[in-house]
Symmetry: C2
Subunit: 308 residues, 2 copies
């Protein structure tokens, strides 16, 4: 029941209307691992870090069942670094600095100990790295989930489309779904992706407006929890992805019905993420916290109806 | 079990990326009546029209159980007229023309036949007219629902706040909730409205992003149905309100639990409204259509979870 996670392990430097984070730990694979580790062990991490990445972060993740055999450490180089600033509505942000550093030449190597992993999630990274990981898996995982972003559609669309052919579930946001297909309507965009691009399941993330899951002619909607304040949205999408794949890996059930539940779990995990800078809140939550939050989602959307 | 509906009965002239409507029937009370008449009879309409308002529209509504004793007909004047144009994303629109006409001097008169109405919905109109109707009801209705818009916040905030003190349920969109309270967070805006302004229930409409119901410390979320195309959003909010109050009036149950169901019913009715210009789609739907649409909402949000 192992899960392999591919993505960045990095530093973020974030400014929001509520304050500045300074240089803190971030990266897609970091958020995914923190979220998923509440549901499944081991988590086989695939990434690359510099000598500056804090050992205490690795130790904390290790204690949660995360393995680092697939994480390359380049002692004399620096980890990936991103600095950004959010505007008042927290829905838009400006990138202030991007330093690829170790990520620039990253060639992932899947160790033997990761082979046979049943679940694989490709966090946001260059499509070429995502494809390399898929190719190195000697047995195809039961489920491959892929996250990506608009940047790769702009600079590596051909590579991106090749990876899409190999994955089961694609995760994108609403703007990216439109960009990928040229369709304004998300329903039409979903149909184009599902019928022509490869994935059999599509999740469209809409931030504070929730998430949609499409499969064949079915659609499911999960709201975001209405929060008093979104303190820092960085990593919310990755945390959502981690909760989603974590629940699937835990239950080993990849039916559409169970994916609905997995999306609710992902939404619950994302609602914790945004309460603090970075992984601050994810580090401290308990199973009881998660259970209570899931109950809030049940209350949020549950209704009775006698069809007239 | 009667419902009194106050609002405009008017003409709209709409341009969307999909076409032009020409001069068609619209108005908040028209949409509310079309939606609510699927659930409750009689509907006591309170409005004002000119000699130009089509008799066939009145006949069609009459056949659905709508009474017009409270609708003033000014034979030598013109009905309210609004022309607007939607942009590509259908979330923003420009008003091209507003002609108040008969609405300019409207003084509503509640006929004796409307007295004792258990449910009252104040569609979007000047707060002074809304207040006049409340004052004329000899017995306070079991539930008073009020819709309003940003325009009244700009030109008649004091009057608006007086009406708010008299109503049970307020319906506004997200921008209006923020404008009314000065709070960016919808959760904070809701708390301010519910604890200081009068209403005990607040519905925040978010268009294609669904609707939130707040009451005390509870919150419920209803999604909008993901549609291939939103042909014309005009009247969707009024239609939502009509479905909402229609379900409550039908069931005579004003509990929070039943309001959840009522919001789903409202969302279902709104999903029909946007499929055509004006009330075109609302005119033709059957109880079976409504039932099927409600089942789609159940499928859209229903999930199973074993709390961990």
């Amino acid at each position: 029941m192992s899960l392999t996670v591919v993505g960045s392990m990095a530093f973020d430097d974030i400014e929001t209307p509520f304050g500045k984070s300074g240089r803190i730990v971030g990266g897609s694979a970091t958020f995914i691992a923190w979220a998923a580790s509440n549901f499944v062990k081991p988590i086989n991490q695939v990434s690359v870090i510099g000598g500056d990445f804090p050992q205490e972060e690795l130790d904390a993740l290790s204690a949660k069942g995360v393995a680092f055999d697939g994480v390359q450490v380049k002692k004399d180089e620096k980890s990936f670094y991103w600095a950004g600033k959010y505007h008042m509505d927290m829905n838009t942000r400006d990138t202030l600095t991007t330093e690829l550093n170790v990520l620039g030449e990253f060639q992932p190597v899947i160790p033997d100990s990761y082979q046979g992993s049943e679940f694989l999630i490709l966090g946001n990274l260059t499509p070429q790295v995502q494809m390399s990981v898929i190719k190195q898996m000697k047995t195809r995982p039961k489920l491959i989930v892929m996250d990506t972003m608009n940047f790769w559609m702009e600079v590596a669309m051909d590579d991106l489309k090749k990876v899409l052919k190999e994955v089961d579930v694609l995760l994108v946001n609403d703007a990216e779904a439109r960009q990928l297909t040229g369709e304004v309507s998300l329903v039409k965009a979903a149909r184009t992706i599902l019928t022509t691009m490869g994935p059999k399941y599509l999740i469209i993330k809409k931030g504070e407006h929730g998430a949609l899951l499409f499969h064949e002619n079915h659609v499911f909607f999960a709201p975001a929890l209405p929060l008093e304040e979104v303190f820092d949205p960085t990593g919310a999408g990755d945390t959502f992805a981690g909760g989603f794949i974590g629940h699937l890996a835990k239950t080993k059930d990849i039916s559409f019905e169970n994916m609905k539940t997995a999306i609710i779990v992902g939404s619950a995990m994302a609602s914790f993420c945004v309460e603090r800078f970075g992984v601050g809140r994810l580090r401290e939550i308990t199973h009881e916290d998660i259970s209570n939050r899931l109950e809030q989602f049940v209350q949020l959307v549950n209704f009775d109806i006698d069809l007239i």
